[in-house]
């Protein structure tokens, strides 16, 4: 190694640390916003996420801010965030050699965040919720088509499919009168969530007559419960959360679980694990070789290089869409034609109530179908 090379490597390492520190500021903002979101302080979380976004985390910021705005009731801007995230993801389909190479020397955190395939699919499912809330039925169908494309074999590969997203696509297509394509999505959702007793012909739940009956008016309420655990969390007990829907004191029905995000996250993480381990081993080998080369010229400098390259810079990439709920459920129940509000009672697996919300907004109507959604976050 030529004289001066160790110093150059250490300078590079120092620069990488500086970048990591700067990225840390952004992570801090993200974590603050997530905390505020789960405390029900949507405006504060939104303000926190107005800060300048590091380019590599742009998609993650937009996903988180879009979620904050969605459940804070700012549907227009939420949809804009989600659509911007999708546009950026489309640009990221081209693999960056510079970032890929740098990630072999530093860590995966310096690469652009793209998320797992299930996160990219849920991006469209959440955008569709924004459009439902705004009565933008055609736009919801646009998202349904994008969602379906994200679940195509070319895009999904062997990552897990998602019944809830399929169901949202079905609803969006059904509401614009595209019943044949809606049915295809209901069929796929029914196959993925057999326990839900979903009738693929009608998109309704239950067995026999109740599923095939055609009520004059019905309410489709997307119920989002809990908080998705980190994908690397291999143990995530099933909490069995659900919701009951009431019109005054009259029970209209309950929600059915379609997707447990913990399952999607865990399966996706395991699929990537082997590749990640191989990459980490290669990266540590490269860093060790560099440190060894420096050590040959200067022992102290070599040790320092090892501390910087392996001790400080070797960080796992744990970035994920953290404001995602855990349980993605749907209640599709008959309702009165003049429904102005309804009550959602959140219950755990033993039937114990742990919260309730009266919903008057978002509550939109297309034909004889009311559409709404709710999440068990304090307001």
């Amino acid at each position: 190694m030529k004289k001066g090379a160790p110093a150059r490597i250490l300078t590079g390492g120092a620069a990488a640390i500086a970048l990591a520190v700067l990225a840390g500021c952004a992570t801090q903002a993200l974590n603050s916003a997530r905390r505020e979101f789960y405390q029900g302080r949507f405006d504060q979380a939104n303000t926190t996420l107005e800060r300048k976004v590091p380019h590599k985390d742009r998609v993650l910021f937009l996903m988180e801010r879009g979620t904050v705005r969605l459940f804070g009731g700012d549907y227009e801007n939420s949809a804009k965030d989600f659509v911007s995230a999708y546009d950026r993801l489309t640009e990221l389909e081209t693999y960056s050699l510079s970032q890929g190479g740098a990630s072999l020397l530093v860590n995966d955190n310096i690469q652009d965040f793209r998320g797992f395939p299930y996160e990219r699919t849920l991006l469209h499912a959440f955008t569709a919720l924004d459009h439902f809330a705004l009565s933008h039925w055609e736009n919801a169908a646009v998202e349904a088509r994008r969602l379906i494309e994200s679940l195509s074999p070319e895009k999904l590969g062997d990552y897990p499919d998602d019944a809830y997203s399929r169901y949202i696509a079905g609803v969006a297509l059904e509401l614009i009168g595209d019943t044949s394509n809606a049915r295809l999505q209901y069929e796929k959702a029914a196959a993925l969530a057999e326990h839900a007793q979903l009738d693929p012909q009608t998109g309704r739940f239950g067995s026999g007559k109740s599923a095939s009956a055609n009520p004059e008016n019905e309410l489709i309420c997307f119920v989002l419960l809990g908080r998705a655990p980190a994908p690397e969390n291999m143990v995530y007990p099933d909490l069995g959360l659900y919701a009951e829907i009431y019109d005054g004191n009259k029970s209209l029905g309950r929600s059915q679980l379609l997707t447990d995000v913990a399952d999607l996250a865990s399966t996706s993480y395991q699929k990537d694990a082997a590749r990640e381990v191989a990459k980490t081993i290669s990266r540590i080998a490269i860093k060790e070789t560099i440190s060894y080369q420096i050590e040959k010229d200067n022992e102290a400098l070599g040790a320092l290089a090892r501390i910087i390259l392996i001790g400080l810079l070797e960080q796992p990439d744990t970035r994920r869409w953290e404001t995602l709920p855990r349980y993605l459920e749907v209640a599709r129940v008959p309702c009165p034609p003049d429904l102005k509000e309804f009550t959602v009672v959140f219950k755990n697996s033993s039937g114990h109530e742990f919260g309730r919300r009266t919903i008057s907004t978002p509550l939109t109507k297309q034909g004889s179908t009311f559409v709404s959604f709710v999440r068990d976050i304090p307001r």
């Binding site: 081209t94 050699l97 169908a141 088509r145 070319e154 590969g157 595209d178």
Partner: protein, 203 residues
């Protein structure tokens, strides 16, 4: 080594001296009738081409050339059945402009009905007698113009490659329905397909 530095210096000097366009902000007009598509998606050139094609077909059709009366149309919009956020109103606006300018068709202003009613109400309450628009005298549409635009996509399969090819096909169907009989009095289709190739690996 000395020559290398000289070459670098000269290049920098030349770049600075010429004010290399790539490094400067620049604004220029674009000829809307010429130029290439940048992506395979529906763009403004498609909007112009597809609208013009439909209007030309309609103006040349026997439907508009069989009587002396100018038919009155109401536009009810184009259904977007694609996976893109298309401004389909821009398509109908372009068609309506061309059709009105042809003098062969007239349109009722469906989108401004609430404003019309508001203005008429204002005039009825405040205008000098005889100058206000008479209520109940608006022309009724005889025909309703509707349409839908669909998209089909295909891309090269997963395989070892350095670029991927995507093809997009768009088809616009326009219909004119006789409001009295409910029959479709005229219809046409316009279509195009485009391919784009994107690198899978970049810098």
């Amino acid at each position: 080594m000395k020559y290398l530095w000289m070459a670098v210096g000269m290049s920098a000097l030349l770049l600075g001296g010429s004010g290399c366009a790539a490094f400067r902000a620049n604004v220029s007009d674009v000829n809307v009738e010429q130029g290439d598509h940048m992506r395979a998606q529906f763009d403004f050139r498609d909007l112009r081409a597809i609208s013009a094609e439909v209007v030309d077909q309609m103006l040349a059709s026997p439907f508009l050339n069989k009587g002396s009366d100018t038919p009155t149309f109401a536009i009810k919009g184009i259904e977007n059945r694609t996976s893109d956020y298309l401004d389909t109103k821009a398509i109908t606006d372009t068609m309506r402009t061309k059709l009105i300018q042809s003098g062969k068709v007239q349109f009722v202003n469906v989108e401004r009905r609430a404003d019309l009613a508001s203005e008429q109400g204002y005039q009825a309450a405040n205008a000098t007698p005889g100058t206000g628009a008479e209520i109940g005298q608006q022309a009724a549409a005889q025909f309703m113009m509707t349409g839908s635009i669909v998209e089909m996509k295909q891309s090269s399969p997963r395989q070892v490659r350095v670029s991927k090819t995507k093809q997009r096909y768009y088809q616009l169907t326009m219909e004119v329905t006789d409001l009295k009989s409910g029959l479709i009095a005229w219809t046409t289709q316009s279509e195009f397909a485009r391919a784009e190739r994107q690198p899978l690996i970049g810098w």
